[in-house]
């Protein structure tokens, strides 16, 4: 895959901004433009009416079009973004239509990432203010147009539910009546925003706007796109990672009725047919000779060992306070290493992309978190200017980071380039897993010095690849991947003299962002290590953490809330799921949010673990839609439980050993714990909530298993054989 051109243009960007989620808004946001007329024949809403800004279009009749810079993949951002705009615009959520933004970095570039992307739990922290401003500005333009028509001062007009009223004269008109004129008005600067007490939408449990179509099967995901004359393609990559096609006899596929074409690329074989099933069967009928290439001997044990070796090599200092090295050399050490496996995204919507390449142009129908990368990647394959590539973005059937890469879109473009007419390329589940860009292996080594039951020195060394160096090169500064060390560099605790280091280690396995990103590894390790220290020093895990939070009352309040709600310290009742019981706690500060979690487990004699209850307390600052926040925590917890109990991608002979849901095990409804979520009232800046639930539950569960069995497992996922009663 080419280096992402959009990222390469990204100019200067403060790493700090990425790290801390600052709202440095780059690029003008409110230039009135006419978006390209939609040519999609898919059943997708299109922006309509006068464009007051890149975000607000008001038609003469009907719903206001609000353009969504962040894409909806279940996290509820179409509703929360719409709430921000509708709040200031003074329209109801029932009066708007959410429209997917096209690739257009100038208008929809992410205020933190610069490029156009949805991820990292940043939508609310990055877009709340720009979108409120867009709503307020559009309202001001509409009001100004009405005031001009009525020759009254704007201050005499009031707005509600898309109607402008002049109470003095009793005159009223709808936004649609003045929209054309408003669009020709100059864009005002510095329009004031509502104060929180004026909010009527933000902070309420607003009904989601994307779900009514979803429950009746009308919502159109990328995989659902239908175009006249469309064909369907199935594809396969080499079983051995990075292998190339050596030889393929196309005849067995071409002999099957309904098969149109076999497309052979250097690393991919695809069959194009009249429907997906025929394409898939014809693909299986092919006997493809692959040359395995350099990865033929790639083996999981070696991958673990290589990472461990790399972890002892030179690293980069991320944070240094005091003389941690010196103190640690003096003894009284606790030391441990925690290892996290490769993971697949396994969104239920497999990768897919529909394209029509024709006449020097390309149209793409896809659900993507990175429309700009999609456009640039396709343009590069086809050797055409990006503006010749139209991206029709769609709802995503689960992102989790899996749609933050343009790789599959580039692959589909390379196939579609050789196909006449529109073609939908669908990854089977097996190919979706095999061709995934995985959550990388991480290795965390921690050392602490304990003096008089106090931690006086702390050394955390994170070893793993740099996703940002590839994905957003300007954000990779001074050899530090700010994502990989997020959660290690600034833990919420006072830990004495500190040394935090990062070792960049890459092993040839493709890797990318995955729900929870860097803190999945760092928070897991820090929180596991604290429990190890607690066990060695005979301290209670909650008491130990409280002691380290004396200067962080916000974090301490969250920890206390979770502990109280979970009944920390009370005896656990017997469970039918397993005789050995345990409670575990964890705390995190990342994505601008603070969360504490208490998990309860039951462990069978054979070592099977059942999570029976999870309590989460969260202070995520000011909340747009509390119900969505709770849903994200619940969902993140489920995601994290499957991760810590079951999930891993492993390699043998260069092949990914997992294939489908029979060997990549997700949590089912009959394995669910009860989940309780407490949202702390907070007026702090909004943090993110898509990832934290996944991050926080993993160490809580691992610590609960530690408590139940006396065994701390350090390589995930949990291995039943190591905690079986007989061991």
């Amino acid at each position: 895959m080419p280096r992402d051109p959009e990222a390469m243009q990204a100019g200067t960007l403060s790493r700090r901004a990425v790290l801390r989620g600052g709202a440095a808004v780059l690029g003008g946001l409110f230039i009135g433009i006419e978006l390209p007329a939609g040519r999609a024949r898919a059943d997708e809403p299109q922006a309509a009416g006068a464009a007051l800004s890149a975000f607000v279009h008001v038609p003469a009749q009907g719903r206001v079009s609000l353009i969504m810079p962040a894409v909806e993949m279940g996290q509820g951002v179409y509703t929360s973004q719409a709430m921000c705009m509708a709040e200031e615009l003074d329209v109801g959520l029932d009066q708007i239509e959410a429209i997917h933004a096209p690739p257009d970095r100038e208008h929809y570039g992410h205020p933190i990432f610069y490029v156009q992307a949805t991820g990292g739990s940043t939508t609310t922290m990055a877009w709340t203010e720009p979108l409120r401003r867009a709503g307020a500005t559009a309202r001001a333009m509409l009001v100004a147009a009405a005031a001009a028509e009525w020759s009254v001062p704007t201050s005499e007009l009031v707005t509600a539910r898309g109607v402008i009223t002049h109470p003095g004269s009793g005159r009223a008109q709808r936004y649609g009546d003045v929209a054309d004129r408003a669009a020709r008005m100059p864009t005002p600067a510095d329009v004031p925003l509502k104060s929180p007490e004026q909010f009527r939408l933000i902070g309420t449990r607003a009904r989601r706007i994307d779900t009514p179509d979803k429950v009746v099967g009308k919502a159109v995901y990328g995989i659902d796109v239908r175009l006249p004359g469309m064909t369907f393609a199935a594809l396969t990559a080499s079983p051995v990672l990075g292998g190339k096609v050596e030889h393929v006899d196309e005849a067995p596929a071409l002999a099957m009725p309904g098969v149109r074409q076999v497309v052979v690329l250097d690393d991919i074989v695809a069959v194009v047919a009249d429907n997906t099933w025929i394409a898939e069967q014809a693909l299986r009928a092919l006997d493809i000779a692959w040359s395995p290439g350099a990865n033929a001997a790639l083996d999981q044990a070696q991958l673990w060992a290589d990472t461990e070796t790399a972890a002892t090599g030179p690293g980069v200092t991320v944070r240094k306070e005091g003389d941690a090295t010196g103190k640690l050399a003096a003894g009284a050490l606790v030391e441990a290493a925690y290892e996290l496996p490769f993971l697949a995204h396994t969104s239920l919507e497999t990768q897919n992309c529909t394209l029509h390449v024709h006449d020097g142009a390309c149209e793409i129908w896809v659900g993507t978190q990175v429309p700009g990368y999609a456009q640039a990647g396709a343009a590069q394959v086809l050797g055409i200017p990006p503006e010749k590539v139209t991206v029709h973005n769609h709802l995503i059937g689960g992102g989790f980071g899996g749609r933050l890469e343009a790789g599959p879109i580039v692959t589909a473009t390379r196939i579609a380039q050789k196909v006449a007419g529109p073609v939908k390329v669908i990854w089977s589940r097996e190919q979706d897993i095999r061709q995934d860009m995985f959550r990388p292996l991480y290795h965390n080594r921690l050392k602490a010095r304990i003096e008089n039951d106090r931690i006086t020195a702390w050394h955390h060394r994170v070893t793993g690849p740099s996703i940002l160096a590839r994905w957003l090169p300007p954000a990779f500064k001074d050899g530090i991947d700010s994502d990989a060390i997020d959660g290690a560099a600034e833990p919420p605790y006072a830990l004495g003299d500190m040394l935090v280091e990062y070792v960049r280690h890459e092993n040839g396995v493709p890797f990318s962002f995955w729900r929870g990103v860097g803190p999945n590894s760092t928070v897991f390790s820090v929180e596991s290590f604290l429990d190890l220290i607690a066990r060695k020093s005979g301290a209670d895990p909650v008491a130990l953490r409280r002691g380290l939070l004396q200067k962080n009352p916000r974090a301490r309040a969250v920890l206390d809330a979770a502990a109280a709600k979970a009944g920390w310290g009370t005896p656990l009742a017997a469970s039918a799921f397993g005789a050995r019981r345990g409670r575990g706690v964890a705390l995190m500060h990342a994505f601008g949010s603070l969360l504490a979690c208490v998990a309860e487990v039951a462990v069978t004699d054979g070592g099977d673990v059942r999570v029976t209850k999870v309590v989460v307390a969260a202070d995520i600052g000011r909340i747009i839609n509390p119900d969505t926040v709770v849903a994200q925590v619940e969902g993140g917890v489920v995601f994290g439980i499957a991760t810590v109990l079951h999930n891993r991608i492993t390699f043998a002979g260069g092949r990914v050993e997992q294939t489908n849901f029979n060997d990549y095990r997700l949590l089912r409804i009959n394995e669910m714990p009860t989940i309780e979520v407490e949202l702390m009232a907070s007026t702090e800046k909004s943090g993110g909530i898509g990832e934290p639930g996944t991050v926080i539950v993993q160490p809580a569960v691992a610590n609960a298993v530690f408590a139940a069995t006396g065994v701390q497992l350090t390589r995930m996922p949990l291995d039943a054989s190591l905690i079986a009663r007989s061991v």
Partner: protein, 444 residues
């Protein structure tokens, strides 16, 4: 006193010795594989009916390559001589035996690592007598006591087929047998005792179809190697012919004409369907080694040859077994008070019910029917557990497919769901434990 002791010891030893001799004799002097049939076997050259050997009539004028491929499929060499995911016939497949692991050799014509330098005589000697070109003896994991009945012509047709394959350079892996099983010369004795070293002898009193079936079953298909129990000396116990055996941990069921344990109440049509497609309505799906036999061998045979096999099988006398009769339909409700197995139920409802349905009748495809299937009605439970561990078939259009669950479900979980399935859909529940599952994993 002393003398008395010695005498009695001697007497005891003599009795024991006689008993051992008798036992050995009992094991060695066995009836032939089709001695049950009325009539007197005669040399092939003296037989005047249609030839029971070679390819069927339809293929008589086919190209030699097609005929060779057919005979090779009849003998099903490929299944054992292909490693999982490996090149066909290149060997390397492991067989875990009680004495160690044996790896099948490379049968491709590579001159260094395969059989590219073998002469016809060497190949015949290997297949008929179990003797390698260097004079050493093969272990009877290689079923030469069956293959010895193949005609010279058919053996050489197989050789021609193998020599037409693309050579694969893949060195043979040594087996891991410890003493005394690593003493290959012992195999010469075994072979002298248990390999009759004689070609197929038809029985003129039986129909031509029966004789063809006998050749396919006893010489080429070597069905008894799995389906006939073995005696202490690891030879087939022909007195309990087709009474059931074990193959790589899988139970190879009784295929004698016993009505309860065997195939006595299967119709000819059911048998033909099962053998040629791996499935017969209500009878389940051929899986494990039998699945391979169907995929690589039986599904390639002509209808007439399948018919001949069925005719022959149905003539094999009943051997009583101890398996229960098949249970009837299961209730549609998930609630069954008599099964106290929450872990098994949890996994069944999550991973199994989608295809098999709560009734066990199959939700979307008849191949997924559990009720009435022998493996489910076997309180031993091994085949159900192995199905769950390893799955069956591949997601290809014309073969039933079940995914494997062994990689991420624990031994406790696999045992529980096996016991749940046999309790819910079978006559008698299995009582497998995690240790049993560990053993089954190791056997495969």
């Amino acid at each position: 006193m002393k003398r008395k002791v010695i005498l009695s010891l001697a007497a005891g030893a003599a009795v024991l010795g006689a008993a051992a001799l008798g036992l050995t004799g009992w094991m060695v002097f066995q009836p032939g594989p089709y001695a049950f049939a009325t009539g007197k076997p005669i040399p092939l050259s003296a037989y005047h009916g249609p030839s029971p050997t070679g390819v069927p009539a339809e293929l008589a004028s086919a190209a030699p390559a097609a005929r060779g491929a057919y005979v090779a499929a009849m003998a099903d060499c490929q299944a054992c001589h292909t490693a999982p995911g490996g090149k066909p016939f290149a060997g390397g497949r492991a067989f875990v035996l009680p004495f160690g692991t044996i790896y099948t050799p490379n049968l491709t014509p590579d001159p260094e690592t395969g059989i590219g330098k073998w002469t016809d005589a060497q190949f015949l000697n290997a297949v008929h007598r179990g003797i390698a070109p260097d004079g050493s003896h093969y272990y009877p994991a290689f079923p030469y006591p069956s293959y010895t009945r193949l005609s010279d012509e058919d053996v050489l047709a197989i050789k021609a087929h193998l020599f037409a394959l693309p050579p694969v350079k893949q060195a043979n892996r040594p087996n891991t047998f410890g003493f005394p099983y690593n003493q290959r010369w012992l195999m010469a004795i075994w072979s002298a005792l248990f390999n009759p070293n004689e070609r197929f002898r038809p029985v003129p009193e039986q129909s031509p179809e029966w004789n063809r079936g006998a050749y396919l079953v006893e010489a080429a298909g070597h069905c008894g190697e799995c389906h006939t129990p073995r005696n202490l000396m690891q030879a087939l116990d022909q007195r309990a012919k087709f009474g059931g055996g074990v193959a790589e941990g899988w139970t190879a069921y009784n295929i004698s004409s016993d009505k309860i344990s065997g195939i006595g109440d299967w119709s000819a049509q059911e048998l033909a369907s099962y053998l040629s497609s791996g499935h017969a309505h209500g009878r389940g799906v051929a899986s494990g080694p039998m699945g391979e036999a169907v995929e690589l061998s039986l599904s390639h045979l002509t209808k007439a040859d399948i018919g001949a096999i069925v005719t022959y099988l149905r003539s094999v006398p009943s051997v009583k077994g101890d398996l229960p009769a098949l249970a009837g339909p299961a209730p549609a409700t998930p609630k069954l008070a008599r099964i106290d197995n929450p872990v098994g139920k949890r996994i069944f409802e999550g991973n199994c019910a989608s295809c098999h349905a709560w009734t066990g009748a199959g939700a979307a495809r008849e191949e997924a029917q559990l009720t009435g299937v022998r493996a489910v009605n076997d309180p031993g439970g091994a085949n159900v557990a192995l199905m769950i561990l390893h799955g069956s078939g591949g997601p290809t259009p014309h073969r039933p497919y079940m995914p494997d669950f062994g990689k991420v479900y624990s031994n406790d979980e696999i045992a529980a769901v096996t016991n749940y399935v046999t309790a819910r859909f079978g006559t008698e529940p299995s009582q497998l434990t995690a240790d049993d599952i560990a053993r089954l994993r190791a056997a495969n």
